[in-house]
């Protein structure tokens, strides 16, 4: 990991530990204000991590910010930090004013209804100031202030449908950003899920070592050990998948596809084992595991699930005609690691 990434991870960890505690997360999921948390993120410069230095940002690359995105998942951060970072960088690239506040990315194309605009089930739609969306064949920023916000109804979820009646305040001009927005949303979601999975693994190992039954910690039982080993394997695979995705440009749909597919598949196993080992306490609202596993379940279905991205990868591979190892090498080629200072 590069030194820049180390520094970022350290300061993000400190900020989240102070301002995104499990209690803070629960409050924001309940509908209370997220202003203070976002202010802290913006003041620390995290939102502008990917914005070029010439535009006032840190000019980092995807690999540099990987750990920050993982931490967002580990803390179940109730704000679309990954989406905001990508959106602000894209705005800078297009010469647009950087949008204020948290920025969501819609994963469905806008629906037009009676002159209004509807964005269905926007991830973090309940906690954003702006949304990147495809409206009438263009990629735009929409201001959330003018919209009616209806939360999805899934318990604790920050997904929301945003409805604008009449003209939505849309700032066009994102088409030049060379971003595959669905892939970008998929990638930042995959990275968040990795952080949640790593924290879930940590909690699971701790629980297995502490919970005593039959006179010994349950982690001494082979059946428990084997499940947790499988969980760890999936976490390692997921982290590598997301790391590869982040090491490629945001126009590189294939690496993002690999990330979302592999991470989504891993998440199902990881959530299941975490809950199996924790027993009944893991299903309670009071215990923090649910903050992590709810992110995993929701993340699987956002920006396309495993089947969607597998289809895209498969179509491309069958059309390409190259042997499988060559295809795989092509997805990996040119990856950019975190910078050393």
């Amino acid at each position: 990991m590069g030194e820049m990434a180390d520094m970022l991870a350290h300061s993000a960890g400190q900020l989240f530990a102070a301002s995104a505690t499990p209690a803070d997360v629960r409050r924001i999921e309940d509908g209370e204000s997220w202003d203070a948390l976002w202010s802290g993120i913006a003041a620390a410069g995290f939102a502008d991590a990917l914005v070029p230095e010439a535009a006032g940002g840190a000019g980092l690359n995807g690999s540099d910010v990987a750990v920050l995105m993982f931490l967002a998942g580990a803390y179940a951060l109730p704000l679309p930090i990954g989406q905001s970072m990508v959106a602000r960088a894209a705005a800078a690239q297009c010469g647009l004013a950087l949008p204020e506040g948290p920025v969501a990315i819609a994963d469905h194309t806008a629906v037009h209804d009676d002159g209004g605009v509807i964005l269905v089930d926007v991830p973090y739609g309940a906690v954003c100031r702006h949304v990147v969306a495809r409206v009438a064949d263009r990629w735009v920023f929409l201001a959330a202030d003018g919209a009616r916000v209806e939360r999805s109804g899934v318990h604790g979820s920050l997904t929301a449908t945003l409805t604008w009646t009449g003209d939505a305040d849309a700032a066009p001009g994102l088409d030049g950003a060379e971003v595959d927005w669905l892939a970008a949303g998929a990638l930042v979601t995959a990275a968040r899920m990795v952080g949640a999975m790593e924290r879930a693994l940590e909690m699971t190992v701790d629980h297995a070592n502490q919970r005593v039954q039959f006179g010994k910690p349950i982690g001494k039982l082979q059946a428990i050990q084997q499940q947790i080993s499988v969980m760890a394997e999936e976490v390692f695979a997921a982290r590598m998948a997301a790391s590869l995705g982040l090491a490629q440009p945001l126009s590189h749909g294939r690496a993002a596809a690999v990330a979302k597919s592999r991470v989504g598949e891993a998440a199902a196993t990881v959530a299941a084992v975490a809950h199996a080992v924790h027993g009944a306490i893991g299903i309670t609202e009071e215990f923090d595991l649910q903050l992590l596993t709810r992110q995993l379940h929701e993340g699987r279905t956002q920006y396309g699930g495993e089947r969607y991205w597998n289809l895209r990868l498969g179509h491309a591979a069958l059309a390409e005609g190259a042997p499988p190892l060559a295809i795989v090498q092509g997805i990996s080629a040119g990856k950019r690691l975190a910078a050393e200072l």
Binding site: F236, P324, L325
Partner: protein, 383 residues
Amino acid sequence: MIAALPLSVIPDTDEALRAEVRTFARDAVKDVAPEVRARSWMGFSPEFSRALAARGWLGLSIRKEYGGQEAGYFRRFVIVEELLAAGAPVSAHWIADRQSGPLIQKFGTEAQKLHYLPPICRGESYFCIGMSEPNAGSDLASVRTRAERVDAGWRLNGQKIWTTNAPHSHYMIALVRTSGTAADRHKGLSQFIVDLKAPGVTIRAIRDLAGDAHFSEVFFDNVELPEDALIGEEGSGWEQVTAELAFERSGPERILTSIVLLEAWLDWLRQGAAADPADTALAGRMLAHLTVLRELAIAVTGKLAAGESPIVEAALVKDLGVTFEQTLPTLIADAIAADPQRPVPAPLRNTTAFVAQVAPSYSLRGGTREILRGMIARGLGLR
């Protein structure tokens, strides 16, 4: 403890060799049926091994003074990837190149290194692994083959089993007991380089369920070994074997054993009319898994190249890799049987059948799944 596996890059100087190796390997097997190439690294050809050596593609991690290339782990990774993807016949030199040579370089005396390493690097000297016994598989520390000191050296009695390639090998590196009893577990074990032509050595091939005879039983009946047959320290056999297994478990081979089958299936999909979405999604899923597994294998190689000993990490990647390798024939079998009206070409049918038959062996050799998962659990701090 288990350390993170960071995304790693293969150095450009090693990547540069890839195209040449790919062309050479694919040329060498262009008339060989996929079901034969699917034997993967079990294909035996001394000519091919010597040809690789002549190009400087063997002995990559062996120092030049011993006839090696001194080119490091990434060089070997690139070369092996391309050889395995083509299904080239690498088995003659395989074990010597992958682990026996590096083991001799790590633990051998100068005389042993000068004697054994150059012919290994020339692709002329073939080794097999003497670990498992009929009563000592996963419980390797309970081996009973014994070497006793005699005037001129040692006397060896016992047997080994599941020894891949023994009939074709010149030497075996065997884990044996030199002091104490099985109750002493890891203490009192040593490794010997056994000349398989020595009197008292009997090799009996074992036919497998696919009709091949890749592995064997090897019997030792009062085999006389010279003093310098001992490799490393007497009593350090367990530590040495652990290091040897790290060599064995790292590298791209652990994720590429089924790739000839995957390629054959993709080619068949490409020939037909537009592929069924289920097949397309399955192809994508497999490529996603393979992409990630390869990055993990590259990361393990990076740790070896940095002089680390990624024992648990290599076990983790091996277990993930073999799970993928074993799932592949199961899923492809279902895919090719999805339309009873569409006949399957014999090469694809036979390759699928062969890989399905032998796939259980992938998670048995080099440490069973259950053992590896126990190692991972220990690395996580659960044991």
